[in-house]
Every structure is written in C-alpha cells, then in structure tokens.
C-alpha cells in the first residue's frame, strides 16, 4: 500500500531525465538522480511547500547493488507528505549530496546514515560517526556486516529447535568475548588513535580568539556522559567563554545497541516488544507507531474498540510523560524532587493501569497488528474513569498552582533559549518543541491516524518560543489529553479487540510504509520496507529525541552553561530512543 498520497503534479516531467516515479510494487514517491537532488529538494520546499523534513534514512538494496537514501517531507500546514529517494551504486565511496543547506534538520540524520551505511554526504558541515565511535571498523547496518555474536541471518534461529541444546553466545566466539577483529589484526602492532580528535577538530574554530590585544583561550567542558542532568549517558562537549556557551557538540551512542539491525533480523512480530525499549516511558505510543507502519503495509483495518483503547492508552501515556518531564525539568533547575515525586504519584497510578491491562508497567508490549492483545478489564476501566473525570484534572491544576507563577522558575525560563518558528521547522523539531515555537503542527490533527479525527480537542500552541512556553505547553497538552480521554472513555464501543486472528507468523506484502504517531516527545516514525518475507528488509525508527537534538547547539549558543541543563531538560530526551 502506498504510504502518503503523492503530489498530483508529475515531477518526472518537471525534471526530465533526473526524476522518475518509484514503480516498484508497494513503493511510491520519486527517485531522484543524486546530481539533481539539491535542485529537486529546493523545488519541493519552495515551490510545493513541503517545508518540513521529517525523516531521512539509508537503505541497503544489496541484491540490486545500490544504496538508497529515503526522505520523507511534509507541509507544516498539514496534509499528507511526499517521499523521495536517491540511489547510488553500492561501491565505496558512495557519494550523495547533503541536504543540510536546504533542511538543517538533516544534519544528525545524515551523520547517522553515514555511520550506519557509509554513505558520504558531500558538503555536510561535520560528517563524523555519531552512534558508533571513531575508529569503528565497518558500517553495521549494511546487509553484509555481521555482529560479533552473529548467530544466523534471520530469526527464528534454526539452532533453537528441534535440536536446541543450549550454548552460551560467547562460546561461539573464538575470543570468548564480545569482540570482532579485522582479519589479520595484530594487537602488538596496533597504534591507538585518539577517538576524540575528530570531535575536537570540529570545535577547533572556536578554540581561541584575540580580544583587545589579549589572546583568550576558550575552555572545553565535557558535560557527561556521567552527568546527572543528561538523563542517562548523553554527553555534550561545550566550548565556553567564561560561562557563556560559544559552541556545543552533542556526543551520543553510549547506549547504542543497533536496534535497527536487531529489528531486521527479527520477524515482524518480534519487533513489537523491542519497540517498548525505545522510549521506555511511552511504550504504548511506540507500539502504535510500529504497528501502524506494518498495518499500512498489510493493508488491514484496526478493530473499532481497539482504536479507542489505543487512544486511551497513548493519552494516558502522554500525561504521565509530561508529568515526569515537568518534574525532572524542575529537578534540573534545582527544585530537588518535590515536583518530581508529586509527578511520580500520578505516574504510579497510570502505570498500575498499564500493568493490569498489559502485564507490565513499562514494557507493555500491548499492541498487535489489527488491534490490541487483550481487553481492558472492568477494574482498570473504573480506575481510568476515576483518573480522567476526577483526579487528573485536579492534579494538573495543582501542578499549575505549584509551579507556573513561581518567580524563580519564571526568571530561569522566561525569554531563555529562543528557537523561532522558522528555525524549529528548518531543524525538523517535532512535538511540544515545535508547538512551543509557535507552529501548530500536531500529527493527530495534521495527518490524523487512528480515531483522532472523531475527538474534539485543540492543538496546544504557544508563541513566545522560549523555555517557559516549553514548560507551559506540556500543561496545555495534558489538559487536551484529558479532554480526549473523557470523550474516548465515554464513546468506547463494545466489540472485538482485534481484526486479525492471533498469529506469530505474519504475512506482510512487499512494499514500504512510513507510520508516524504524535508521541509525547514528538514525532515517532517507523519506516519499514518489506520484501515479502518473514523479516523486514529495512526497519528504521525516526525518534523525536534524536532529531530534536539537532537544534541543541542553536538553542544553547549565547546562554550560560547552567542553562544548558535546563534546555536539555526542556527538550525531553530519553536515551533509549536517542541512541537506539
């Protein structure tokens, strides 16, 4: 099934010889020749109005001997998107022009494609590895790259049944360890290179300056990876002039496990519990994004009752996520644990519901293709009603009273770290970050999925573009979520909870699909390519935490180092999905 409805204008006529329609069965959009890519992208952005680059990822078409880069672009005024691709022969060096000059939001995503596929983006301002470390050998998402404990090409592994005598993975490795050496590697002759060299080289232009005849050296400060404000193992290398941030580079990948490679070894169903572990606060929305992409590929409908249950679960998830975000933001600002623990009370109650319906508090694994795994029991439904109609509105209001007018919070947040609407769109920001910058773009309204078009709610938007708005927008969104929940709980229809028969072997026709949901942190997208077999050929996750960090430097430059902590807190990152 075609993903987004494409432009009626025939772009192949507009760019003769350089653009052709993608006619592979199940695929849609346009294939652009690399040499015309920049021109095409500028045309799509300026003439057709697709100003918002949402997703960029590489695909290794090993059988065809070509490397592909896929771009999903949308209009910030809403509506379906446009998908275009560019292909290059799979012979190193693979060169494709960088689109950072058109959409600055491509920066981190292009670095990721370089890191994973070895696609060189010419004219990229800072093309370094991003998730793997400098000096890592090979490009792990290439189809011919194998991990250290490589078992078999695809799951289910034949070694498990019928003759599955248990062996530990390290027994299979000649070194008994999780190490992969290049053939002919000699540890005696190896000279270590400085893995930080490239990183600091990227920052060097700011290293020193001359002011009034006095040479001033700027200080490099490494925030993280072990820093309490980074919510995990995220590191930012900051160049300081006194306390003012001059430049900043995010360093990530400490939690990298190559989720996408695992996903391509897995069968379609196997991936469902793995998606729980992306943004581990919101496994319900993660499940939804993935099942939506696969449902698009399969061309199936979701059972009516399941649609409502999905809405209920993901809105509850949004409320608890925003509660925690506000609590943790206040933690970062120094209000140690009072707001955070108030937030945890509501989260606790919501997680109790998740546990009762799905069996697990955080790793819910609740969605299945065509529905959900089990119905909501009576006790949980009563609890949801109590929360929605009574407790949550009261508690959100209590948060408002506790924090919003607090003079310290206002002076720390107001007018700080401005990100204008134009920049927010250009940097591919999504979710509350985009809406706090004055762009009323919410996928639930702009490109509706599920049954969101049946509910009456407003897209929360704030226009001051500062950190205070990023805090306030979360309160607004919680109010809207409660509104949606009230309607969803009232309208919850009876009926089956899945349109499909439960099966662990799922037939997915060949094709591509991009499923996007409005996650609490921003747009969560899954780009899935199937070749008709049991495992996805390509499984890409476009995570809001990752893409939203593209604008981190933009927001931090000129602020004080202490505000970096608050800015990072207000973006709302979670390392599970940032590093994947």
């Amino acid at each position: 099934m075609a993903t987004p409805a494409t432009e009626t204008l025939d772009l192949a006529v507009k760019f003769p010889g350089a653009v052709r329609a993608d006619t592979r069965p199940g695929f849609s959009g346009w294939v652009v020749a690399p040499e015309k890519l920049l021109e095409f992208a500028a045309f799509v952005r300026d003439e057709l109005g697709y100003d918002y680059l949402v997703n960029l990822c590489g695909v290794d078409n090993l059988p065809e001997g070509q490397m592909e880069v896929v771009y999903n672009v949308y209009k910030t005024t809403g509506g379906p998107g446009l998908i275009f691709k560019t292909q290059a022969a799979r012979v190193d060096p693979i060169e494709i022009p960088s689109l950072v000059s058109i959409w600055p939001g491509a920066e981190l995503q292009e670095r990721e494609a370089w890191d994973m596929y070895g696609i060189r983006f010419s004219d990229h301002p800072d093309l370094r590895r991003i998730l793997m470390w400098e000096g890592f050998a090979g490009f792990p998402l290439r189809k011919d790259w194998k991990e250290a404990f490589h078992d078999e090409e695809i799951k289910p592994y034949k070694s498990r049944w019928p003759d599955g005598k248990h062996t530990y993975a390290e027994k299979r490795s000649a070194y008994g360890d999780n190490i992969n050496f290049e053939p002919g590697f000699d540890p005696e002759k190896w000279v270590p290179t400085d893995p930080e060299e490239a990183l600091y080289a990227a920052l060097k232009k700011y290293k020193s300056e001359e002011k009034d005849g006095i040479k001033t050296d700027h200080i490099i400060v490494n925030m993280g990876p072990q820093h309490p404000s980074t919510h995990g193992v995220f590191r930012a290398v900051v160049i300081l002039d006194g306390e003012t941030v001059l430049s900043l580079k995010p360093v990530m990948g400490y939690l990298h496990r190559n989720h996408e490679k695992i996903g391509e070894r897995n069968t379609f169903l196997h991936n469902m519990p793995y998606t729980d572990r992306l943004d581990y606060f919101n496994s319900m929305t993660n499940n939804w994004g993935y099942s939506m992409a696969v449902e698009k590929l399969m061309g199936i409908q979701v059972a009516e009752r399941a649609e409502y249950i999905r809405v209920i679960m993901s809105e509850l998830s949004r409320i608890q996520n925003h509660m925690i975000l506000i609590g943790m933001l206040l933690n970062d600002l120094g209000a140690y644990f009072t707001p955070a623990l108030y937030a945890f009370e509501e989260r606790e109650l919501i997680l109790d519901i998740f546990e009762a319906v799905s069996g697990s508090r955080m790793m819910c694994n609740y969605f299945r293709f065509g529905g959900v795994v089990r119905d909501i029991d009576e006790t949980s439904l009563r609890k949801i009603k109590d929360l929605v109609f009574d407790r949550l509105p009261r508690k959100i209001e209590e948060f408002d009273r506790l924090l919003t007018e607090n003079e310290i919070i206002v002076s720390r947040l107001k007018g700080q770290a401005i990100l204008t609407s134009e920049d927010a769109i250009a940097y591919s920001m999504s979710g509350p970050m985009l809406r706090a910058a004055g762009v009323p773009y919410d996928i639930r309204r702009a490109d509706p999925y599920g049954v969101y078009d049946r509910f009456d709610f407003d897209v929360a938007v704030r226009h001051n573009c500062d950190m205070m708005d990023r805090y306030l927008i979360r309160l607004d969104e919680m109010h809207q979520s409660v509104r949606i929940l009230e309607q969803a709980v009232r309208q919850l229809p009876e009926g089956p909870i899945s349109s499909q028969k439960p099966s662990y072997q799922i037939k997915v026709p060949a094709g591509e699909a991009y499923g996007r949901v409005e996650g609490p942190k921003g747009e969560l997208g899954f780009y899935v390519v199937s070749n008709g077999k049991a495992n996805p050929w390509r499984y890409h996750v476009r995570t809001p935490s990752f893409v939203n960090l593209t604008a981190l430097e933009k927001m931090c430059v000129g602020t004080k180092i202490a505000d970096f902590v608050a800015i990072l807190g207000s973006i709302d990152i979670v390392l599970g999905e940032l590093d994947r």
């Binding site: 049944w161 599955g164 248990h166 109790d352 790793m363 694994n365 919003t404 007018e405 662990y504």
Partner: protein, 201 residues
C-alpha cells in the same frame, strides 16, 4: 507582588504536608503493613504518603502480570509429572530474543519424534518477559510467572526441572485465565463428542 508565586506553590506543599498527617490519623494503625492500607495507598483517591515499604510490604501484582515463563505439568495420581509441552517449537519461534532452547523428544526404540521435550532451557538473563511464548502456545503449556524476585549471583539458565510447575500453581496465580481456558477446553471436548456421537449412532 514579588514572591506571591512562591508562596502559592508553598501552599500546595503545605496542603500535602497536612494531608499526609490527616490521612495517617484517619487510618490510624491500618495504613501501613496491612493489605487494605496498601490498597488504599495505590487507589485513585489516595492522599499523603504513597510509598510501599518494599520488601516489608509488597504491592499485589495484577493477574496479567508477567515475569519469566514456566512450564505446566498435570499432577498424576501417583505423583508423576505429566508435562503439557509437546515440544512443537512454537514458543521458540515466537520468542523475540531467541532465549528458548528445545530438544525434541524421540522414542529411543523407533527414533521417531514423540510429543514431549527431551530438553528445555530458558536463558532467563536474555528473556525480556514479553509473554509471546505464553500467548502463542496452542497447548497452554507455557505461562508467565508472577515471581519477580529472581536475583541471583550466577547466570540464570533455567532447565526443565526448574521450569516445571504444577497446573494448580497456575490456577492459583491466574484464576480467571485458568477458568477461561478450562471452559474453552471443555467446550472443545463437548463439540468433539457431539461430532463423534452422530457418527457412532
């Protein structure tokens, strides 16, 4: 007025502070270390302290709670353990982490496969408690356990002896599921009998 916002916020914390003591007085002696106290503290109209004093107190887990899988056996009359598993391998195929290892049983005389596992391992260190094995098992032979206190000093590879638990244990931890499955089984048998009866008659 400067400081008004801070005072307003402090009012909220003061309210909470007072509520905590009021709730303690209202539930005098019964709020902590009692099942109804724990239920009250995790209900939607709770106020005051939320904390469950683990391990002295434990939150009751809901029926659908899943931890590590276990294998069910029917208790025979002479205390023998009749395992339900037929070593069909569906759980091993549905397992996302591929942590289930099964050796299919064979008849020593004929060498033919028999519906019983000769070996069954679950690498509980790798298991992600997703519950697919229990969900897709056609024989209700593998289920998810409620016991979450499984910390150990060594790696946790569970073999068939560790995995086996009686059906009565399962009926105890998941009464509703058990009743539903038994009903389905009886209905299936009744349908089978009804189908066989006219053929015989």
């Amino acid at each position: 007025m400067n400081g008004k916002g801070i005072l307003k916020g402090m009012g909220v914390t003061l309210q909470r502070f007072v509520d905590t003591y009021l709730d303690d007085i209202r539930w005098w002696g019964k709020r902590y270390y009692t099942p109804e106290g724990i239920a009250h503290r995790s209900s939607t109209n709770t106020k005051g302290i939320f904390t469950i004093q683990y391990p002295e107190e434990k939150l009751p887990v809901p029926e659908e709670f899943r931890y590590k899988p276990f294998l069910l056996y029917e208790e025979g009359e002479k205390g023998e353990k009749n395992i339900r598993c037929t070593s069909c391998g569906i759980c091993a195929k549905a397992c996302p982490t591929q942590c289930i290892w099964i050796v299919r049983g064979t008849d020593p005389a004929t060498g033919r496969p028999v519906p019983q596992p000769a070996g069954f391992w679950i690498d509980a260190d790798i298991c992600m408690s997703c519950g697919f094995c229990a969900e897709f098992c056609p024989f209700d032979a593998i289920k998810m356990d409620h016991n979450y206190e499984v910390a150990s000093y060594t790696r946790n590879l569970m073999d068939i002896d560790e995995l086996m638990k009686p059906v009565s244990y399962y009926a105890g931890i998941r009464p509703l599921n058990y009743a539903r499955e038994e009903e389905a089984r009886k209905a299936k048998e009744a349908a089978k009998a009804a189908k066989a009866a006219p053929a015989a008659g």
